[in-house]
């Protein structure tokens, strides 16, 4: 890194702004100087416009057009020679450009990179002017660009109509060099182990050597790695190599991830959809696990979504196979954002599928948007989360517990039944008083499945506090009690099944207690007590037809579940 001393009086006192406000007025007065100044200004603006606008923007087009016109004028008839100083560009000694802010200064960038003179031949081809602009723009906008500088890029371009004089091995002069520094730094530790590159591979006995001409066609495969196709191939090959190394722990996942993100961006910039799909395939082929999920999370990019959605024919939910391969690269969040505004039914279905395809990598993003989605989409996604990202099922279900759509609530509760991790107990218990029976039954099933003893009183209260319970709800609550607390539930069931004696018993015939008896039978059916079957059979003996049928059904269910669970 180097620091120029700006010319006296030239220091800016205001911060640079991102805009393209007119730069310092050039000082040229001659016709040629003014034409040169106009060209340099147009070049500088066009180059920087790419950091402010999308390349397809009309403003960029305007800058390009201006650059083209000014170049034609400035190079008409005679060569245009520009001498490069740290902050200035001169034409025949006349100042045509000055900018002292090194972030903005074209002259500074050229000078620092070793360029000392630029010569534009008359009527330099537009293709070369464009390539020149590309090089300047890359240096102006690529912040991490450190592979090449202007001198090396201009040299590599091998222009015919633009000549470049650059100093070799340019290093700026230091104000106060410290000659001891290198010697002190030397030997601080850059020593490879002794015996590096050994053992040496076993070679065959030497044979004779002779000069043999190598035909051009034999050389062609060696050069095949130069060019756009080879670049894509190389990028994918390296992605595979690094994933392999990351898989065996030789490369940190973060290192592989960063590289793959760079490859993805390159392929997006190039519009190389087939290669992007190949990248997605490559990641998808990795063994399931944290590495794959981490890479998938990192590779999601909203820019791929446009390509995928564009491939869906309106009115259909069909995704061409090539586009389907890109799905792993589309972040669920972008798909769900678009879902909120997408009117086409087919595309909506595709967007849901995209979000599903990103599970489990994007589970968090999906969960965070569930409550704002329409019920059908949310329902599908909850099912997908339960199946493909069970660690997030509890959070997904929790997000929908109070949803106004009952079917969705029930779906959420089903997901919660099998979910890993904690469930929101307080909210569940509140839902035991929900207006919809399906929701209440769902809650009872979740509570029973999760077996949290602290929920026992609330479930008991739900049973004893209401007289209008349906058999289905009583059944679910009774089974929940058995799962929540074996000893307390057994006592309760015994009490509820006790035949009523006396006047009240004779008057009611036990009917008032129906829900409780129903629940007790169901609960015994799920209870592990050794005499649970005998107790149910005893109840059946003295029961009316309906309760007796319930007893037999419970026993059958118990046998079935027992057989299922061994």
């Amino acid at each position: 890194m180097t620091q120029p001393q700006p010319p006296a009086g030239g220091t800016r006192t205001t911060p640079p702004t991102a805009g393209l406000e007119p730069e310092r007025a050039p000082l040229a007065t001659s016709d040629g100087g003014q034409a040169a100044a106009a060209l340099v200004l147009a070049l500088s603006k066009a180059a920087r416009s790419f950091s402010l606008y999308d390349p397809a923007n009309a403003v960029v087009r305007q800058f390009l057009s201006d650059y083209q016109q000014k170049a034609q004028l400035a190079t008409a008839g005679t060569p245009l020679v520009l001498d490069v100083l740290p902050f200035d560009l001169l034409r025949e000694g006349e100042l045509v450009y000055r900018e002292v802010d090194r972030e903005r200064s074209l002259a500074f960038k050229l000078f620092r990179d070793g360029v000392r003179r630029l010569t534009f031949e008359p009527e330099v081809p537009w293709a070369e002017l464009l390539a020149f602009l590309e090089i300047v723009a890359i240096r102006s906008t690529g912040i991490r660009q450190q592979e090449e500088d202007l001198a090396t890029m201009l040299r590599k371009a091998e222009f015919g109509g633009i000549r470049v004089v650059a100093v070799e091995g340019f290093t700026p002069e230091e104000d106060n060099p410290e000659p001891e520094e290198r010697r002190r730094r030397s030997g601080q530790g850059a020593r490879p182990p002794a015996g590096f590159d050994t053992p040496f591979p076993l070679l065959p006995p030497p044979g004779p050597i002779a000069f043999r001409s190598v035909p051009e066609e034999a050389l062609a495969p060696l050069r095949a790695e130069d060019g756009p196709e080879a670049l894509v191939h190389n990028a994918l090959r390296l992605a595979a190599l690094l994933l392999h190394e990351a898989g065996r722990g030789a490369v940190a996942p973060g290192e592989a991830r960063q590289f793959l993100v760079e490859v993805r961006d390159f392929l997006i910039a190039d519009g190389a959809l087939a290669a992007l799909a190949a990248l997605a395939d490559l990641v998808a082929r990795q063994p399931a696990g944290e590495l794959r999920e981490e890479i998938l999370r990192a590779l999601g990019d909203a820019r791929v979504l446009a390509a995928v959605v564009a491939a869906v024919r309106p009115g259909t939910a069909e995704l061409p196979p090539e586009a389907a391969r890109l799905l792993p690269l589309v972040p669920a969040s972008a798909a769900l954002d678009l879902l909120a505004t997408e009117p086409d039914e087919g595309r909506r279905a595709v967007l849901v599928r995209i979000a599903e395809a990103r599970l489990p990598a994007d589970a968090e993003a999906v969960v965070s948007r569930l409550s704002s989605l329409e019920p059908a989409a949310a329902r599908g996604l909850v099912q997908a989360i339960a199946a493909r990202a069970p660690a997030w099922a509890a959070a997904a279900a929790a997000a929908l517990l109070e949803h106004q759509d009952v079917r969705l609530q029930v779906e959420a509760l089903k997901a919660l039944e099998h979910a890993e991790g904690d469930v929101p107990a307080d909210r569940l218990l509140r839902l035991l008083r929900a207006g919809q029976e399906a929701v209440r039954i769902g809650v009872a099933q979740v509570l029973g499945r999760r077996g949290q003893p602290s929920a026992f009183p609330a479930v008991e209260e739900a049973l004893t506090g209401r007289r209008d319970l349906s058999h289905a709800e009583a059944d679910a609550l009774g089974r929940a009690l058995a799962h929540l607390h074996q000893a307390r539930s057994l006592d309760l069931f015994a009490r509820w099944l006790e035949p009523r004696k006396g006047l009240l018993g004779r008057l009611t015939g036990g009917r008032q207690e129906d829900p409780l008896r129903w629940a007790a039978v169901a609960g015994l059916g799920a209870h592990p007590a050794p005499d649970a079957v005998a107790r149910i059979e005893a109840v059946a003996k003295g029961a009316d037809d309906e309760l007796r049928r319930h007893c037999f059904a419970t026993l059958a269910r118990r046998r079935h579940e027992g057989a299922r669970h061994g």
């Binding site: 890194m1 620091q3 001393q5 911060p15 640079p16 999308d54 390349p55 397809a56 960029v60 390009l64 057009s65 001498d83 972030e103 723009a137 690529g142 991490r144 660009q145 450190q146 592979e147 090449e148 090396t152 590599k156 100093v167 091995g169 230091e174 104000d175 410290e178 001891e180 290198r182 002190r184 601080q188 530790g189 020593r191 182990p193 002794a194 015996g195 590096f196 590159d197 050994t198 053992p199 040496f200 591979p201 070679l203 030497p206 044979g207 050597i209 000069f211 043999r212 190598v214 060696l222 050069r223 790695e225 130069d226 670049l231 390296l238 490369v251 290192e255 760079e262 390159f266 910039a269």
Partner: protein, 448 residues
């Protein structure tokens, strides 16, 4: 599509490639993050006027500085903070300093140590930040303040922070004369640069390929067939000498294969850093190190952020430079195959040169073509190095001894090298150069 629309599309694509891996709002993030970093560093230095750096008053700002640096490092790889009078730049982006004395005074604080900037090659732990602050807040050492501070910081385990000088750009065109291209000077600069690069990489810094590229270009333009590039480099550490030997052989092969100039430049850089993996801590010795250093080298290359064709080629070359051509599933790239051949040639001479002549070594490698080596490249290596590869000890028909000094000068002169004569008693070069193309003959090649 009209001319301008096509231009927009092409330029957009090229810039997209150049910025691959960069966040779209990267510039703004760097400006904001850099501003925070510079102000906090300035603030920390100010705080040393009232508190010692190990005081609890530093706890929060040091932690904050560490987080800010880590975030910027995540974005940029290497964070270059440069001061120019009262201006501060982070990776060439100017930092606002109006009304914020912290960063505004940073330049004067650094100048005490004859330092114009700091390059952070990695995140810093709390203790490292305290050490950095303590070092910067101290008085400049007499004589070589920057070097002294750099040494002290390295001792404190802050080697990943590089102190850069205060540079000045001449305002007149005094250095635009014809460039010097003496091969000996070019080689000297190259060796020095390789050594410095290895020091930087060993200190955990990010590879900076640009100076290497410039040096490779210089070497190519000076003519890599020049004898200066094929002499032994006795004053140079073995690993740097090995890197340059491999690079020269690789470039020679690349030229023989008529690879394009950009390809050659990239090949040269890859060759210079191909063994960087040996600098990784705990890489191991012998077979363990041999197996592990390519992937460690790749990890070092990966420290450099951003997408470029050159980085890709370099990565593959480093990863694959010990792979056998005959193994179809792991067949190396052209770069990898060239490096494999160039490195094995360098190694066979280094390890067995005392017992085996160089042409015999080439003969064995040629026979291994198709199995260990890409066969076309193996023949190209034979063609390029000549019947008597550079450095071969020769007994001339007239009884004098010498060493061949340069690669072959084409098919006709393939077995007629330039020979540097040796003193018969000391076996040291005596300076006289004999061109066998003009007469004379070789009796035999000798090991050694």
């Amino acid at each position: 599509m009209d001319e301008l629309t096509r231009a927009q599309t092409d330029l957009g694509r090229a810039l997209g490639r150049a910025r691959a891996g960069e966040d779209r709002e990267l510039a703004q993030k760097v400006r904001e993050g850099g501003e925070q970093l510079a102000h906090m560093l300035g603030g920390l230095l100010k705080l040393t006027r009232t508190h010692s750096p190990d005081n609890h008053a530093f706890d929060a700002p040091v932690a904050e500085f560490g987080r800010s640096l880590a975030a910027l490092g995540e974005l940029l790889g290497t964070v270059h903070l440069v001061t120019v009078e009262d201006q501060v730049y982070v990776n060439d982006i100017r930092i606002r300093s109006e009304g914020k004395a912290g960063s505004k005074d940073l330049g004067s604080e650094l100048r005490r140590h004859n330092t114009g900037g700091l390059s952070f090659h990695g995140p810093l732990e709390v203790a490292q930040i305290r050490a950095l602050v303590a070092g910067l807040a101290g008085a400049g050492a007499p004589g070589a303040p920057r070097g002294s501070l750099a040494g002290w910081l390295a001792e404190q385990g802050v080697g990943s922070v590089e102190l850069t000088g205060i540079y000045r750009f001449q305002t007149t065109r005094t250095d635009a004369e014809a460039p010097r291209r003496d091969p000996g000077e070019v080689l000297g600069r190259l060796l020095e640069l390789v050594e410095e690069t290895f020091e930087n990489l060993a200190a955990g810094r990010v590879l900076n390929p640009l100076p290497l590229r410039r040096s490779v270009i210089e070497a190519l333009e000076a003519g890599i067939e020049a004898p200066a590039f094929w002499l032994a480099f006795p004053d140079c550490p073995p690993h740097a000498a090995h890197a340059v030997e491999v690079a020269m052989t690789a470039l020679l092969l690349g030229k023989a294969a008529r690879l394009p100039s950009g390809f050659l430049q990239d090949l040269g850089i890859a060759a210079l850093v191909h063994d960087a993996g040996y600098l990784a801590p705990g890489v191991g010795e012998g077979a363990a190190g041999l197996a592990r250093h390519p992937v460690e080298g790749a990890r070092i290359v990966l420290r450099q952020r951003g997408f470029s064709e050159a980085k890709l080629r370099r990565l593959r070359a480093v990863l694959e430079h010990h792979r056998d051509f005959g193994d179809a599933s792991l067949r190396p790239s052209t770069f990898g195959a060239i490096l494999r051949l160039a490195e094995d040639y360098s190694n066979v001479v280094r390890l067995y040169g005392a017992k085996v002549t160089r042409d015999a070594a080439l003969g064995a490698m040629l026979k291994a073509g198709g199995k260990l080596y890409q066969p076309v490249l193996a023949q190209l290596l034979v063609n390029a190095l000549g019947r008597f590869p550079p450095g071969t000890l020769l007994e001339l028909a007239d009884g004098r001894h010498g060493r061949s000094t340069a690669p072959a000068r084409g098919e006709e002169l393939w077995d007629k090298p330039l020979v540097r004569l040796l003193d018969p008693t000391t076996h040291r070069p005596v300076g006289e150069l004999v061109d066998l193309a003009r007469g004379g003959a070789i009796r035999r090649a000798l090991p050694g």
